[in-house]
């Protein structure tokens, strides 16, 4: 009996949180399909007699949404690539080599995570202004990469620590150089960690608003979050467009998650060494 009550309790808890998660998502889809006036509606119906895809059509045809999307893709792609390349290599060095300053590097990487991002805005702005990187993607990419990297390096290092040294030693005896043992044997085994790194780097740049708002001032350079914010004027906000934009913005992230989730499996090293 107590087991049944426990199961009931667990399921009620899960249902509650699922609803709490789904409600905003469904709500925003509903808003994107209604006319602007229906923003305050309390109806949960996704499709009403008033509904149409008008907001989506306007979004793609009458705004700069596609330009913002292109900009966001460009920035996120470069940040993801930088994150994966730098985190996978530096994480490996920190995991496998014992060099002077290794512990200091690891601690300082961890320390950077202790500051809230907003606290770093002013120093970032001054730094970029001095480097004349305000209003450039390079400035934005540098900031996104530098804020995402410490986490990515730590988690790559943590994953490499779980891979036995014997694996790359076997590869080296089989004829690999240190680098090719890394690329041919260690990297394929590290797929789950690489996926997490890629997703984290992508997410850190794709949906970021605050930093983008101080770095990018030219509307032609806007990324998606900045573009969406521009629908919000001081007197009126185009909620339909805003919601349609938000829905479209979340689609690439969902595709990325679903397509990469097959790599997120545990136990890739199973069978490699005696467990």
């Amino acid at each position: 009996m107590s087991k049944k009550i426990e199961t009931l309790f667990i399921f009620s808890f899960l249902v509650l949180f699922t609803l709490a998660t789904l409600y905003p998502a469904l709500n925003i889809i509903g808003i994107s399909l209604r006319t602007d006036d229906a923003f305050q509606s309390r109806s949960l119906a996704l499709w009403t007699s008033e509904s149409s895809f008008r907001s989506y059509v306007t979004l793609f045809l009458k705004t700069d949404f596609l330009t913002w999307m292109k900009n966001s893709f460009l920035v996120s792609f470069v940040v993801t690539l930088t994150g994966v390349v730098l985190a996978s290599t530096s994480g490996y060095a920190l995991s496998r080599f014992n060099f002077m300053g290794r512990r200091a590097v690891l601690s300082s990487l961890l320390m950077t995570q202790m500051f809230p991002a907003t606290m770093l805005l002013l120093p970032f702005f001054i730094l970029l202004a001095k480097l004349k990187l305000i209003n450039s993607y390079l400035g934005l990419i540098i900031i996104y990469s530098s804020t995402a990297l410490p986490f990515c390096i730590w988690q790559m290092k943590g994953y490499y620590d779980t891979i036995p040294d014997a694996l790359e030693e076997a590869a080296r005896i089989d004829g690999c150089s240190r680098f090719s043992a890394f690329t041919k044997v260690i990297l394929p085994v590290s797929a789950p960690a690489l996926v997490i790194t890629a997703l984290f780097s992508f997410m850190a740049s794709w949906s970021e608003y605050v930093v983008a708002a101080i770095v990018l001032q030219d509307p032609g350079l806007y990324t998606l979050p900045l573009g969406l914010k521009s629908f919000q004027a001081s007197l009126s906000t185009q909620w339909g467009l805003y919601a349609a934009g938000a829905v479209v913005v979340s689609i690439p992230v969902m595709i990325l998650f679903i397509s990469l989730s097959r790599f997120l499996v545990s136990g890739l090293t199973v069978g490699s060494v005696k467990g």
């Binding site: 076997a170 080296r172 890739l268 490699s272 060494v273």
Partner: protein, 367 residues
Amino acid sequence: MAGVSLQAISKSFGDNTILKGIDVQAHSREFMVIVGPSGCGKSTLLRIIAGLETPDGGDVIIDGERKNDTDPSKREVAMVFQNYALYPTMTVYENLAFSQRIRKRSKDEIDKRVMESAEMLKIDELLDRKPKELSGGQRQRVALGRALVRKPKVFLFDEPLSNLDAKLRQEMRLEIKKLHTQLNNTMIYVTHDQTEAMTMADRICLMNNGIIEQIGTPEELYNKPANTFVSTFIGMPPINLIDGEVCTENGSAFFMSDGMRINLEKIKNIELLKDLDKHVIMGIRPENLHDNYFAEIKDPENTIKCTVDLVENLGSVALVHSHSGNTHLSASLTTGKTIHPGDSLDLIVDVNSLHFFHQETKERIKL
């Protein structure tokens, strides 16, 4: 084929000295087993030959060439690891072919080599499987196969059987020995298991605390152990070591210990023993003690009266732990009669199989 020569190899990790000037040579086509207790430096020595560790001093010579600064990939050695170290994302075929693909051999050549090795090790049915789909024994075969495909100058084995169960270990022991006969390559095999060393080696190099205690054939180490450490390490069940004195009575030499008096006159060159300091350690292997009850020739002068403490029945023989006075004795006896703890037992000492060691240096007294 290539021989391996290690000259004055030393290695420390921090303050911990692992190898203290090792000199050893594995001859061409020889099966050399490096054996020793955990932490004696045997695996480090193997890793130095492979190039996975750099020695602090000394030279590694493979096939007449100094290889200290040669990358592991270019030493032409293959190594089988204790924990298999198979590439988990690759199939068995890809694991075997990996070294050949790195060397950019043709597809046909790779196919030929992989199939040859797979058939030799009877893993040709497993080529499409991933390591995680294999049993421990199959994984170890694949690890062996990966070394075979290389056709290296020297095979290195780092405790390859220690993760297998007893039955499989025995099978693989035979298999590796057969491979050596077939391939006729130089093989250096590291283990902590003296049975593996005794059954597989052409020559054994016995290490302890970073030094070599003795190098020789299994027979030499068993019959003429250089010191008490070698005598206890080699041989299962272990040798009985008894502190005592050599006394002369009426011109005859006797070994005297608590509860024990053995006439040594039958030993060749016993005069040498008489001239030495009379305090010695006598070693007698359990298999050189016989039950007086079954003995065809009785030897009352060299019979020890014991009381049985414990009996371990091993099937064909029973390992009988007993004591005479304060001296503990283990005897390996054929199981002709049932022996119980508390029984009294008359053990005949095979005098010609006795070993004597200096009490201070623990070195063998050569008679």
